[in-house]
């Protein structure tokens, strides 16, 4: 390991104006990467052409999903199917909008809460083995942490990774539909295995390839 020296590779802003603009654009791009949108969200975002601000839809989606989950995903299948569709329709169209608003930083954690909450409640309600639920959410958490740590060093994950990962809305819809056929445990196991291999192998190869280069002072330790 070289005793660092070169920070210019990551922080290479130009003029002060470009620096400010660049920082705002960078933050917006980061927040949108943190959302972990899949192909459906992106398509809806394209339709709306970035006209919708992201926060209101996300808040409403969180409330509705919460109500639907509390109302009981276990008793009937309607809420279970409903939740991902509602969340997708409310937050998807805004995915192409710049995330530069004062409170737009709330959007990615809201989407995470919707996704994890849905997967956990649906899985437990329909009798999926608990360690399996834990494993699926742990795999997703790995991917979401990895996205954060990478974008900070401007090692943006390729677009295909997000597409292949189905996005949060895709994963929710997959389990919702498979849940109708009663094969939910299989869906959880398959998703956990597929996504685990995808996310971990892609991220480890990227890090091994780039991480050996010259060192950079970065403090990623989090509280």
């Amino acid at each position: 390991m070289t005793a660092m020296a070169e920070d210019s590779a990551i922080n290479e802003p130009g003029t002060p104006e470009a620096e400010t603009q660049g920082a705002a654009a960078f933050a917006s791009r980061q927040l949108r990467a943190f959302r972990d949108d899949g192909p459906l969200c992106v398509a809806l975002g394209r339709l709306s052409r970035g006209q919708l601000p992201p926060l209101p839809g996300a808040v409403i989606a969180a409330v509705i999903t919460g109500v639907l989950l509390v109302a009981g995903v276990g008793d009937q299948n309607t809420p279970a199917l409903f939740a991902p569709a509602v969340a997708l329709l409310l937050t998807g169209p805004a995915s192409s909008h710049p995330h530069n608003g004062r409170l737009d930083w709330l959007v990615p954690p809201i989407i995470r809460a919707i996704e994890y909450g849905y997967l956990a409640v649906l899985g437990f309600a329909q009798g999926v083995s608990a360690p399996l639920i834990y494993a699926l959410i742990a795999v997703l958490a790995y991917h979401h942490y990895d996205t954060v740590y990478r974008t900070r060093q401007r090692l943006w994950p390729q677009d295909w990774v997000f597409r292949a990962g189905l996005g949060w809305e895709g994963r929710m819809l997959v389990v919702a539909f498979v849940g109708l056929s009663g094969l939910l445990p299989f869906a959880y196991a398959a998703l956990a295995a597929y996504l685990g291999v995808l996310f971990v192998s892609e991220s480890v190869t990227t890090w091994l390839r780039t991480g050996r280069g010259n060192g950079v002072i970065v403090d990623l330790e989090e509280d």
Binding site: A5, A138, H144, L155, L220, D223
Partner: protein, 584 residues
């Protein structure tokens, strides 16, 4: 490759013939006698800076050439600046500018060259806190006196007549500067006054590659200003000569020689130029470390003695411990973890090895937790604590030995998460594996484990996302000040404002908002300061909570405690941050 420009134009007094201060003998212990310049260059080479350019005056050049230095001759400061501009223009990398008579240890230079981030950094010497006089109050009083707008009171305790800084307790070696929140807000020269100086600039300046163009521009503009004293823009002496001589606050050299009406130096002008052009120049200063400029043999000897008396290794080791850690980390780990870091460094261990050891210990802890016995829970708890200790050690080792890598940073961060979530799983397994009537039995707690995992990840996402949005907002362009204006403009509208602004304690992400003020106010009280850190359940507190509740009770208690505390923490941080965001 980093380019070093060494300005060896200082003249040593008390020597026959013209002699540069850079050729003063280094009085410290070396196998062979060497000059200050030779020592400085050797120090730079150990820091992997071997492209040196020495600039000096024509009459001093023979003396330096005799010592084997290749030199560039220039007639005056304007010439120095043009040479610097030319060198900076050709440099395709970081540029450091240093005075040839700089006497400093290896640590300050390493911090400047290896640790410094951002567009530009200058070595600084913080002024010692005046013991007798409270720093703010007296300075406020004379502010009421009718003074020239630009002549704000310095941090001096006595009423200062216009434009004359008094014999202040802020006597600092090097050119006077004012540092605000780690950034140099104003820098001085014979033409440029500093409002309320609180530090000195010994003359070492580093400019990152992506800002070298600005350095070159500023050097050229300054050279033009110096060359054309009658032009539309002109540099005027900041203080009448008579008033400045004998005053300690500004333009003083380390040796205490009188510098009234002295000639300007290229490096100090460069710093003024960069700061006034709006380049963010970070001040890198540590009151325990020595950086001085020698103006004679006496000064060099004094500096060498102080360097000899400084335990740089100890300071470096201490600085390797993060200063803003949580309560548990600060008091139950950081008190001794640095000695493990030093031990690991002497064994030649890398930070990544320590990170892996920490991860390994956590996995063993999870296996013990999964056993479902009281012994297993206690052993697991103890191991988990030590896993955390080594987690702190890896970062300290990296900072202490200056071994940083992208891979290491990622490994550290990802393993931190993996340790926690592996232990969650181990606890959940142990809870059902335990005998039904044992105190370790907590029933099926997988639901709680999933909830704890989801909550913790969402909490982190709040931190990350808020941080991302906040960083974008923090990047405001810095104010600029014309180069030909003697005052720094800090106190022009209200002279009293500057000392107060300088005293504003914390870096305030809340700005002037109510939340921001409330936040700063409460942080000043020690108990509240720690309470605010503990309530957000940082990593040290989480590890301790898991280890203790698991060792004493069972997994169910652990998860319920984590969830309850985590929810409180999430609500607390969300409320504060939403209010801050709205107030902005």
């Amino acid at each position: 490759m980093t380019v070093a420009v060494i300005i060896a134009t200082g003249r040593a007094g008390g020597r026959p013939g013209p002699a540069p201060t850079a050729t003063l003998p280094w009085p410290g212990e070396t196998p062979e006698p060497m000059t200050l310049l030779a020592r400085l260059r050797a120090q730079l080479v150990t820091l992997k800076v071997s492209d040196h350019h020495v600039i000096t005056r024509p009459d001093l050049a023979p003396c330096l050439r005799k010592d084997g230095h290749e030199v560039i001759e220039s007639a005056d400061a304007a010439g120095d600046l043009r040479e610097i501009a030319w060198l900076a223009e050709r440099a395709d990398d970081t540029v450091v500018v240093l005075p040839g008579d700089l006497v400093t240890g290896d640590e300050p230079l390493a911090r400047l060259l290896l640790d410094a981030k951002g567009p530009a950094t200058a070595l600084t010497i913080p002024a010692p806190k005046p013991a007798a006089a409270p720093p703010v109050a007296p300075a406020d009083a004379p502010a009421a006196e009718p003074e020239g707008a630009a002549a704000a009171p310095t941090a001096a305790p006595t009423a200062a007549p216009a434009a004359a800084p008094t014999a202040a307790p802020t006597v600092v070696p090097g050119t006077a500067i004012r540092v605000e929140r780690g950034r140099i807000a104003s820098a001085g020269s014979p033409y440029h006054r500093v409002t309320a100086p609180n530090a000195g600039f010994p003359g070492a300046l580093r400019v990152a590659r992506y800002r070298v163009a600005a350095l070159s521009d500023v050097a050229q503009r300054l050279a033009l200003l110096l060359d054309d004293p009658e032009g539309p823009e002109r540099l005027v002496p900041a203080e009448p000569e008579g008033e400045q001589s004998g005053q300690g606050g500004q333009g003083e050299q380390s040796g205490g020689s009188e510098r009234g009406g002295r000639a300007p130096e290229a490096i100090e002008l460069l710093l003024v130029g960069l700061v006034r052009e709006g380049v963010a120049v970070t001040g890198n200063g540590d009151p325990r470390l020595v950086s001085l400029r020698a103006d004679g043999e006496e000064g060099a000897r004094a500096a060498a003695e102080r360097i000899g008396a400084t335990d740089e290794d100890k300071i470096r080791l201490k600085a390797a411990v993060k200063s803003n850690d949580g309560f548990f980390t600060t008091f139950a780990v950081s008190t001794y973890s640095r000695y493990i870091a030093r031990w690991a460094a002497r064994r030649g261990m890398t930070p990544n090895m320590v990170t892996s050891i920490s991860m390994g210990i956590a996995v063993v802890a999870a296996v013990w937790f999964a056993a479902g016995s009281r012994t297993g829970m206690i052993v697991g708890g103890v191991l988990f604590y030590f896993s955390f200790v080594f987690d702190c050690v890896d970062g300290q080792l990296a900072r202490y030995t200056r071994q940083f890598s992208t891979l290491g940073a990622w490994l550290d961060a990802v393993f931190d998460r993996a340790k926690e979530y592996t232990v969650f799983a181990g606890l959940a397994v142990g809870s059902t594996a335990a005998a039904y009537d044992s105190s370790v039995y907590g029933g099926n707690v997988w639901g709680l484990a999933v909830a704890a995992l989801a909550l913790q990840t969402v909490r982190h996402m709040i931190d990350f996302s808020y941080g991302a949005g906040n960083r974008a907002r923090a990047a405001k362009p810095l104010p600029t000040t014309p180069l030909d204006q003697p005052g720094d403009g800090a106190a022009a509208p209200a002279p009293a404002a500057a000392p107060q602004a300088q005293q504003a304690p914390a870096p305030a992400p809340g700005g002037g908002s109510l939340v921001g003020r409330l936040s700063r106010r409460t942080s000043q009280v020690r108990v509240l300061h720690w309470a605010k850190k503990v309530i957000v359940l940082p990593i040290g507190e989480r590890f301790a909570l898991i280890a203790i509740t698991a060792a004493l009770f069972n997994a169910k208690v652990t998860f319920i405690a984590l969830l309850a505390w985590g929810v409180v923490a999430a609500l607390y941080t969300l409320t504060g941050r939403v209010m801050r965001s709205i107030a902005r």
